[in-house]
């Protein structure tokens, strides 16, 4: 029994921030409906309202013919046959897959679990859907692809016929994504209705029947997939035409000594002045080892590790940070920023050595700090504001202002996901900054999960697979499929030698 899902003139604000404003959405029964939009367009809030996790300030939530707005919650939604796969997996890592799958829908007798009955039902489900997972493994031991499969199974175990999927492919490889999309097709063919939230337009074009575009908290248009194309959709999303920066010309400077060189038993990276080296790969395949190497080179068993001609093998973090070196870490909330400190104090993190050389610390705000905030367009540019008060994109700009804004010519920048969580306008700005740094003869290592970004900016791309560099690709023209294959399998065909 498939049914429609509708949101009618939904309004929702959090404090002063309007998340949704007069939002309308109609998901037809038995179709795959894609909801696309930039970060911060209000997609997630809309999904949570649909699933009952967030209550709208006004408007209606309608499934089939029933208005369920009042007293709607996730449990009721589940009973209605509505399931949701969350962007951040709702799986407890230390618990078994079995327990995670049945959470909230345990089979019990007088409060006691009937694990055998649960197990039988789970095995049947796996049988009919073909989605295989090891039920007795702990979630933390599974690769991300399997974890996302768990999330789908979890929803199906609750007999969901209407699935809401929030950015389900964000952490998957191209090939895992392919598998995943096949699963979605399968589910649709069995009469389920799917609503998928994403910002990956190519995927959307492949699988969706209908596409709704959101911008600034409201829906701007709904199109049939066959009547539209990526260009139109991205224009609708941003409200203007976007162009990614063109690939810069290949720099011919192989004779110069590299500014950054890291050679371990597993990989060898050397970056010339003015060169941008991209690092791709599925997350968790050893990309983070570069950051770990920077944080504590002594722990790393490296053969050679030089930054700006200095041998840093025996350096402590503090000594490394004394070098003209910028580090943009993968997670700004974890270690990129100190959220309770002010903007200026955040600009000082890791800049102590420079400060000590120049001036003593008096806690007051300097003019250069204020202008740095303005240069990087951190909004609002109030130096005494706590970093936690900024939006995600502005927080990222704050990190970049610190790590990129104070670098002299001929320095080194290690940037993890520099544009993650940043709106489209800022992405262009950040890319320009990175290109400008390269133009000033800096060596840049760009680690990103966005293939488009890597391909647009890098002179060379290395793909990490199981802790080592599986393959190098040389620009300016790349084959997305080849890179994707290398990310998943470590690369087939002839293995190109790394250029030293």
């Amino acid at each position: 029994m498939s049914f429609d899902g509708r949101l009618r003139s939904i309004n929702k604000s959090f404090g002063l921030v309007k998340a949704n404003e007069d939002l309308n959405l109609h998901v037809r029964a038995g179709t795959i409906h894609a909801l696309v939009g930039e970060n911060g367009a209000g997609k997630s809030t809309a999904m949570k309202i649909l699933f009952g996790m967030v209550k709208p300030d006004s408007g209606q939530v309608i499934y089939g013919q029933t208005d369920v707005t009042s007293a709607w919650n996730p449990h009721k939604a589940a009973e209605h046959g509505i399931g949701m796969v969350h962007q951040h997996f709702m799986l407890a890592l230390t618990e078994k897959v079995h327990d995670n799958l049945v959470l909230g829908f345990e089979t019990t007798k007088l409060g006691f679990r009937q694990r055998k009955k649960e197990r039988k039902a789970l095995e049947e489900l796996i049988e009919t859907t073909g989605l295989k997972v090891p039920l007795d493994a702990r979630v933390e031991d599974l690769p991300v692809g399997l974890q996302s499969r768990c999330e789908i199974l979890k929803v199906l175990y609750r007999k969901a016929r209407f699935l809401i999927l929030d950015e389900p492919t964000a952490v998957l490889t191209p090939q895992e994504t392919e598998d995943f999309l096949k699963t979605l097709h399968l589910l649709k063919s069995r009469g389920n209705t799917l609503l998928i939230v994403t910002h990956k337009l190519k995927e959307v074009m492949k699988i969706a029947d209908d596409i709704t575009v959101m911008r600034a908290g409201t829906t701007v248009a709904t199109r049939k997939a066959k009547d539209t194309d990526v260009e139109e959709l991205s224009e609708l999303m941003v409200g203007r035409k976007v162009c990614l920066p063109r690939t810069i010309s290949k720099k011919n400077s192989a004779t110069e000594r590299p500014l950054f060189e890291l050679k371990t038993s597993a990989f060898h990276i050397a970056i010339q002045p003015g060169e941008i080296v991209g690092i791709g790969g599925v997350e968790g395949n050893g990309q983070d080892s570069i950051l770990e190497a920077l944080l504590d080179p002594r722990k790393l068993e490296a053969e050679r590790f030089t930054i700006l001609k200095e041998n840093v093998l025996q350096y402590k973090t503090a000594q490394i940070r004394r070098l003209p070196l910028g580090i943009v870490p993968p997670d700004r909330h974890e270690n990129g920023l100190n959220l309770s400190m002010s903007l200026t104090e955040n600009l000082r993190l890791g800049r102590e050595q420079c400060g000590r050389a120049g001036h003593a610390y008096f806690g007051s705000i300097t003019a250069s700090e204020t202008s740095l905030l303005q240069e990087f367009d951190v909004k609002p540019p109030r130096p005494s504001l706590a970093a936690s008060a900024l939006s995600g994109g502005n927080q990222q700009k704050l990190v970049l202002a610190r790590e990129l804004g104070q670098l002299p010519n001929q320095s080194v920048l290690i940037a993890y996901h520099p544009t993650r969580g940043v709106d489209v306008g800022s992405i262009e700005f950040i890319h320009e900054k990175i290109l400008a740094a390269a133009a000033r003869d800096s060596a840049i290592l760009l680690i990103s999960s966005e293939l488009d970004e890597l391909m647009a900016l890098s002179h060379r791309i290395a793909v990490f697979y199981r802790g080592t560099i599986a393959r190098w690709f040389h620009g300016p023209h790349y084959d997305e499929k080849d890179i994707g294959l290398a990310m998943l399998t470590g690369g087939l065909g002839e293995k190109k030698e790394a250029r030293l």
Partner: protein, 353 residues
């Protein structure tokens, strides 16, 4: 006009938790006093009069305030580094013990002389301060070590170390340092030339030292690179690590400084007040300091005001014990607890505002 109301609102919000804590405590404590059959107003009058009425009373308050200001400063240092130093109590006892040991060393060294020259006395006193500081610092650094290298939560380790400190001090008082002339558990008296006399009623000149320390330490926390490292580490260890801050070193230094300052409170007792170490001399200065530090949250004015207020409470509660039939000095502990409850509620209300 409009601006000033916003400022007022911000100021109110800033001090709201402490304010709320005060109001709630007043209401609840009055209720409790009324429940045991005393008049809240009378009790409040006794408290106020005994704490701030007259030179003699107020000097007593200043006497307690010296201890509390020191322990509160101590706890603040750790708090800024993100550590709850519940062990100030034990650290101050160890500080006092080291202070007495220093006196024994001085006494042994100069046993022939009847009195020390003023210059030498001052030198020995500075040494005594150092000894007390080192004692407390060492004891706190133990907890710091366990935290940084053994991932043992500092609340548990400092509490355990408190009990260990009590036992060590008790043993030292009853065995090697025992004053054989009395039945009380106390050590021998320190030599006369090292006794610092009170300057005003019960108040000792060490109050000024405590004030200077508080000002310098809090200044260092907000305005030095060391303080920056401490705060950065306390608020986000991973971010501090990425910034190249030696997290372990910073935590250890903060903990050691915290313990050292608490140890100075022990020095104050031995050299400025009783001139010996009496078992159980502290009416839990360490914990009162903790309450004050939590209330003040790194503000020097808050520390000083809090120290005075809770010193007054300490003094007033002693008199309540004498002057009322049903109320014991432990009422001050209940009041402290209520202040913390109020603080908790106030903070969460502030977060919602």
């Amino acid at each position: 006009m409009n601006l000033s109301t916003i400022d007022l609102r911000e100021a109110l919000l800033k001090y709201w938790p402490a304010l709320f804590a005060g109001l709630l405590t007043l209401a609840l404590a009055s209720g409790a006093v009324w429940a045991v059959g005393e008049s809240p107003l009378a009790v409040l009058l006794i408290l106020f009069n005994s704490a701030f009425g007259g030179v003699e009373n107020f000097s007593y308050t200043l006497f307690y305030a010296t201890f509390i200001l020191l322990t509160a400063t101590a706890v603040t240092v750790a708090l800024e580094a993100g550590l709850y130093n519940i062990g100030a109590e034990g650290q101050l006892y160890i500080g006092a013990l080291f202070a007495v040991l220093w006196n024994q060393a001085v006494a042994a060294l100069f046993q022939q002389q009847a009195g020390l020259s003023p210059a030498l006395s001052v030198l020995c006193l500075v040494g005594g301060t150092g000894a007390a500081f080192i004692g407390g610092a060492f004891f706190a650094a133990l907890a710091g070590y366990l935290k940084t290298y053994r991932q043992t939560h500092e609340v548990l380790s400092t509490i355990m170390l408190n009990f260990i400190a009590y036992a060590i001090v008790n043993w030292a008082i009853l065995n090697p340092l025992k004053n054989v002339e009395t039945q009380n558990s106390e050590t021998v008296w320190i030599i006369e030339s090292l006794r610092i006399e009170k300057i005003w009623g019960q108040a000792s000149p060490f109050l000024f030292v405590a004030l200077i320390i508080a000002v310098i330490v809090l200044g260092a926390i907000t305005r030095s690179w060391w303080g920056f490292r401490v705060r950065a580490t306390g608020q986000s260890e991973p971010a501090a690590k990425l910034a190249g801050i030696g997290v372990k070193k910073t935590l250890l230094s903060a903990m050691a400084l915290s313990g050292g300052i608490a140890g100075l409170a022990g020095f104050n007792e031995v050299y400025c007040n009783s001139y010996r170490l009496i078992d159980g001399f502290s009416p839990s200065y360490g914990f009162t300091g903790l309450t004050v530090a939590l209330l003040a949250r790194g503000k020097i004015t808050g520390l000083i005001a809090g120290a005075l207020l809770f010193a007054g409470l300490q003094k007033g509660a002693l008199d309540l014990d004498l002057e009322t039939e049903y109320i014991t000095r432990d009422l001050s502990v209940v009041i402290q607890a209520l202040v913390l409850v109020g603080l908790c509620i106030g903070q969460s209300l502030k977060r919602r505002a």
